[in-house]
């Protein structure tokens, strides 16, 4: 029957893209809520160790970070380095760093300041101990060993 046959067949109607922007906006807001903007570019490789007994850091604005790990730039060798803000640093500059971090907070927040140590799991403890000693000298006693969460078995 010729009635059922049309030349070229029927074209499939295109998908309505009118609501696509809504969906993408939804995605956007979702990501904006669950993520945080990176404050500094990492110069060292950090694979944090895993731990089960982790606590969340309460206030992001009251945390200063010290990164320790192998340099990403392989020309700098494999010796673990300290990164403060956006550059490599030495153990000696930690006290100045803590002082600067204190200065940038208001007076009430200063004693609540926590130092988060983001350290690669393969780092030797020697450099970490040195950093801890410097923090003690700078009276920054609240510290947090950054770890990733591992579920209890």
């Amino acid at each position: 029957m010729a009635r059922f046959k049309k030349a070229g067949g029927r074209a499939v109607p295109g998908i309505n893209t009118g609501s696509m922007s809504d969906i993408i906006f939804m995605f956007l807001f979702f990501f904006m809520v669950i993520t945080t903007i990176r404050t500094s570019t990492l110069l060292v490789k950090i694979m944090p160790p895993k731990a089960t007994e982790v606590q969340k850091l309460e206030k992001k604005s009251l945390v200063s970070f010290i990164y320790i790990g192998k340099p990403l730039n392989t020309e700098l060798g494999t010796e673990s380095r300290i990164q403060l803000n956006d550059s490599y640093a030495t153990v000696a500059s930690i006290q100045a760093f803590v002082a600067a971090e204190r200065q940038s907070r208001n007076e009430f927040d200063r004693k609540l300041l926590t130092t988060s140590l983001k350290v690669d799991a393969d780092t030797r403890m020697g450099i970490v101990t040195d950093v801890k000693q410097e923090l003690r000298k700078a009276s920054a006693f609240k510290i947090n060993y950054s770890t990733s969460k591992q579920n209890k078995d």
Binding site: T17, M20, S21, I24, F25, F27, L28, F31, M32, I34, T35, T36, I37, R38, P48, P49, A51, T52, E53, V54, Q55, K56, L57, K60, V63, T114, S116, L117, V119, D120, A121, D122, T123, R124, M125, G126, V128, T129, D130, K132, Q133, L135, R136, K137, S139, A140, F141, K142, I143, N144, Y145, S146, T147, S148, K149
Partner: protein, 178 residues
């Protein structure tokens, strides 16, 4: 419209990272004044934990596996049978709990400069786990809920006082190199 939101979405995906700010919280001790004499703590009140540069554990002079550490620390801190070679207990008056025996036990953690950070964190994690489990047990016994679900601040503080995190880290010594 969709193009613009796609652009924004890509921008946020690239510039942000999923929040991973969590970890084990510790409080460092203040620097000891130069004039301070070494504090005498009875031998029975100290649990010596050593981690060497090959990440092996030595507890009270015996090599052990990391999996055994939690149970050792738990029995050390709770001293269930009131044994004489385990830590003493001191009866303290704590608001919210009344008179309760608080262990005088201290865990002395010592690591080498060559110990890997991963092993150190594992040990710290086991010590924290032991303390947390003891707190949970006490909290369940006294208030009927685990410590983590304890809403009442006075009660939570009382439990924290009854089972303190007694970890003492030795002043670093340079043995073993990097």
């Amino acid at each position: 419209m969709a193009d613009i939101s796609f652009l924004l979405l890509t921008f946020f995906l690239l510039t942000s990272s999923i929040n991973t700010d969590q970890g084990i919280t510790r409080k460092l001790p203040p620097l000891a004044p130069a004039t301070q004499k070494s504090v005498n703590i009875k031998d029975r009140n100290v649990l010596k934990v050593l981690v060497n540069k090959s990440d092996y554990l030595l507890v009270q002079g015996k090599p052990i596996n990391i999996k055994e550490l939690k149970e050792i620390v738990k029995t050390f801190l709770s001293n269930p049978g009131n044994r004489v070679d385990f830590p003493e207990k001191e009866i303290k008056e704590i608001q919210g709990l009344g008179r309760i025996a608080v262990s005088k036990g201290v865990i002395s953690l010592k690591n080498d400069r060559g110990t890997s950070y991963g092993a150190y964190i594992q040990v710290q994690n086991e010590l924290t786990a032991a303390v947390n489990e003891l707190r949970n047990e006490l909290s369940k016994q006294k208030f009927g809920v685990p410590f983590t679900d304890l809403k009442d601040e006075i009660a939570a503080e009382a439990i924290t006082k009854a089972i303190p995190v007694a970890i003492s880290e030795a002043e670093p010594e340079n043995i073993g190199g990097k």
